[in-house]
Every structure is written in C-alpha cells, then in structure tokens.
C-alpha cells in the first residue's frame, strides 16, 4: 500500500486523501471496543494513548503506550509501521486528529471510537481479570 519494501513510510498528499475520502474510508478509519480488544490480544495493532502528560499522571490504562499528541511528530520512530496504529483519548476527538496525522504520514491508522472512558467502563470486575490474563506480558 503506502509502504515501500524497506518499510519506509510514504506520506500521503492531504488533498488527494480528501478527494478519495469515501464511505469505505469513513468506516475503515474507526475501530470499536470489541475489535480493539481482539486485535490487541492478537498483537495486530499498536495502541497509543495520546493524552497530555498531566492526564496520564492522573489516571492511565494498562493497554498500549503513552505518546502525547503534541509529541507525536517527534516520536514516530516509536511506532511499528508493520502494524495498524490505534489512537485513543478519553472520548475520540483528539484520537481522530492523531489518526488523520498518522494516515497522512503514511501509517495505517485508526481511532478508537469507544474512547478510553468506554474501555474502562467495560473492563471491570471479571472482564478486567479475564482480559488482562489474556494479554499478560504485553507492555506495562
């Protein structure tokens, strides 16, 4: 697709991206709760929490890694270009900014429509126990 053989990323032209935006892309750019949990467990996506440092310090989730949105341009080397990068924030507005930026930069990227608040609401009690057992050994 957008990757060369040596895995260097090829940036997309923003004008072209918008002109090509269609119903397929409208769905493809999103990822919901069930799919995120499944693909994360299967190691097919890299999840990034793009909130500010103060927000991360106040509370954090045991899934994915923390790269604030305003540091993303300088930390692209921490992203695995062989995986789809899923951006998350409390709801989904900032995650979509990250997703768009990464897409233009040539990554495969989606944003988490459920948001981190929906994620923590879902992963409580027995579901928290079972899922963390399933993904044991991953980051954090």
């Amino acid at each position: 697709m957008t990757k060369q053989q040596n895995n260097t990323l090829v940036e997309r032209d923003f004008d072209t991206y918008l002109r090509d935006f269609d119903y397929t892309e409208r769905m493809a750019m999103k990822i919901g709760l069930d799919e995120l949990l499944d693909l994360y467990a299967r190691d097919e996506i890299q999840v990034i929490d793009i909130r500010f440092h103060e927000e991360y310090a106040a509370w954090s989730v045991g899934i994915g890694q923390h790269i604030p949105l305003n540091e993303l341009p300088d930390r692209l080397d921490e992203l695995d270009s062989t995986k789809t990068i899923v951006a998350m924030c409390p709801h989904y507005d900032r995650a979509e900014i990250a997703r768009l930026y990464l897409t233009i930069k040539g990554f495969s990227s989606r944003y988490f429509t459920t948001g981190m608040l929906g994620l923590v609401d879902h992963l409580r009690g027995g579901r928290a126990r079972d899922y963390m057992e399933l993904v044991k050994g991953k980051e954090q």
Partner: protein, 127 residues
C-alpha cells in the same frame, strides 16, 4: 463519627451529604490536602485502569489495613460507580472513621480528569 447502630439514621435525604461527596467537592478537598483517597477495586481492575494518586486497598483487604488509614482527615472511598464504595464507606463509618463514598465514582472522576482539570489536579497535595 458513627457506629453500626446509627448508620441507618444517616440513610435519609438530610444526612446523605455526610455519606457521599461530589466529584467537584472531592477535587477541591484533595487539592487542599483535606482528604485521603482510597480506590477499593480488585487488583485485576487496577491493572487495566489505575489512578495515579491516593491509596489502592481492595475492599476485601480493608479490615487488615485500618491502621494505615488516617483518622484526622476525611476518607473518600471510590469504585467504578458507587455500589461497592458505599459498602466500604459504611464499614469504615462503623469503625469510627470519617468516610464518604465518591458520588459519580471513578468513571465520573476519570471523565472529569481530562484536559484542564487534569492539568490543575495536584497529584501530591501538601499535607
């Protein structure tokens, strides 16, 4: 301070302010160092989602940790919503602590602690 026998008398509208604390009031008191925060969820829950402040003591371990809890400050008890925290708050109140459960729970608190309110939040308030 209330004992077990007096707990039911608090379960009337006029006394609920002594039983629970709103998220905004908690944030104010926390930033002033006026309260302690206790997350009473089970460990598998805090592995998924952890708060970066206060104490984490699972509800079923509370009876063994009473010595660590301050008696000179308000204890704010929290779980995802407010069912489990209310049970623990009742237990601590019966043990003579000044305890309230967090109305709105951790879900409400985490929703609040984003952007500006997160930046203004004092993770380690002056005691």
């Amino acid at each position: 301070m209330s004992k077990l026998e007096t707990l039911p008398s608090q379960a009337v509208p006029a006394h609920m302010k002594d039983v629970r604390i709103s998220i905004d009031d908690f944030l104010t008191q926390w930033n002033e160092g006026a309260c302690e925060f206790i997350d009473i969820r089970v460990p598998s829950e805090t592995r998924v989602w952890k708060m970066g402040f206060g104490k984490h003591i699972p509800a079923d371990e509370i009876p063994e940790h009473l010595e660590e809890l301050p008696r000179d400050r308000l204890l704010v008890i929290a779980c995802p919503n407010s069912d489990r925290s209310n049970i623990v708050r009742g237990y601590l109140a019966a043990k003579g602590f000044n305890a309230k459960y967090l109305n709105g729970g951790l879900l409400g608190l985490t929703d609040k602690l984003k952007g500006g309110p997160a930046a203004a939040f004092n993770l380690e308030p002056l005691q």
